[in-house]
Chain length 220, copies 2
DNA sequence: AATTAAATTTAGGTTTGTCTAAAATAAGAT
DNA sequence: ATCTTATTTTAGACAAACCTAAATTTAATT
């Protein structure tokens, strides 16, 4: 039944990331994967024959439910390994992705389910992205941008959209991570900078640029 | 410098297992890898050009010191993952190999060294085979066959040469595993069966066939 | 409706790793 | 020394994934 090549899996995952349900175009996918449009067309024919995508010439493609299921399994593997690397092996935030990119293709279902159990069934990866469960169910993370958060409202950092090294460094310095509880005390419209309070600590100022990339959810 | 394909790595590891230092022939390697002699010849030319093997037509091949170093790194990865699977994810003895066969090709050096640390620098894998350290140094396991062990001599199971499922089942039933302390109480020359005592338990009988596959080292 | 530009597909190659069948070589037996 | 056989290498093909360049289709503009 199943058993797909690394390449096929990378294509399926990329389609999922661009559009879990909707239509993706050849050039979009080529850009995402750092490959050429011609290569994408070839692969789409193959994935169509394997019933993983719907595809008609010149009309783009979207995942079949089969394809989406596979994508979710790959995402699951990727994020569980990221969690393992960060939590157990003490890799830093920006290092986990590259390694997980390779590990996600080790295909043993039992391996992944046992890993999940070993890790204590984590809900999100180190970047705050939700981890699909063994059946491919994935939580919809209801998060809003820090710039939208009302003043003096208890919230928790859920997700960071820019996952570059520079971002990591800055967040580390400001002591902000996934799960950090904070509230916004003051906003300055001039430059969109804001003052925030992290737990009981004295307020700090962060730039509008930074705030734009931080997503939080309301505390229950 | 380094970065070898899965196929190249599997060839290098197979050569190492057949002959860490000595000469390996084309057909031997083809048999080991379930491939054809012609494919082996092709790969040997490639590995020669990468200075991983010494190779002259019709004369077989052996690993260069570079090749041996690579082999040891692959063996290191393989056995550390086997240990991880058995120890942390509770895989049984006979399941770990197939999965590790895939995981051994994830190439991050940092990953492996951190994994080693996380696991507490284990000396041997679940089958009793020694794990090379980060510099490729590997312990020479000084073990003798259980059939050679003198009577009433304290010893510890170090290694099992047959690693099949049937063997695992039998060993499980007899409560024998790597690290089990035992001594031989009586040998019967008629069928080479023997009575052994595991720690304080009552003696059990094992067949000559089984004893032949168990290797022990003297307790210090 | 005709022209042009952008997106996509097709055509034709390359690389890696595999295979089968044929040719070449080495080594043992007469 | 020649024959025979087993081993190894070469030759030629194939599949998977990729590439570039050319052709085609779609969509937007005059
Ligand atoms: Mn990947
Ligand atoms: Mn992630
Ligand atoms: Mn392998
Ligand atoms: Mn082993």
């Amino acid at each position: 039944m199943s058993n797909y090549s690394t390449s096929e899996e990378n294509y399926i995952k990329a389609i999922y990331h661009l559009q879990p349900e909707g239509v993706v175009t050849t050039n979009e996918l080529a850009a995402e994967l750092n490959t050429r449009a011609a290569s994408v067309t070839g692969m789409m024919k193959k994935l169509r024959s394997k019933k993983l995508v719907h595809y008609e010439s010149y009309k783009g493609f979207r995942l079949t439910s089969e394809g989406r299921k596979l994508a979710l399994m790959i995402v699951r593997r990727h994020r569980l390994w990221e969690f393992f690397l960060a939590e157990k092996l003490k890799f830093s935030w920006d290092e986990v992705h590259v390694v997980a990119e390779e590990m996600e293709h080790v295909s043993s279902k039992k391996l992944i389910d046992k890993l999940d159990e070993f890790l204590g069934f984590p809900r999100t990866d180190p970047h705050g992205d939700p981890i699909p469960d063994a059946n491919g169910r994935i939580e919809v993370v209801r998060s809003i941008c820090l710039t939208e958060l009302p003043l003096n409202t208890a919230s928790t950092v859920a997700y960071v959209s820019d996952q570059s090294t520079g971002m990591l460094e800055l967040l580390g310095h400001k002591k902000i991570a996934i799960g950090t509880a904070l509230e916004v005390k003051k906003k300055f419209s001039f430059d969109n900078s804001m003052e925030i309070r992290i737990r009981q600590q004295p307020v700090t100022t962060i730039s509008g640029e930074l705030a734009k990339n931080i997503f939080v959810k309301y505390d229950e």
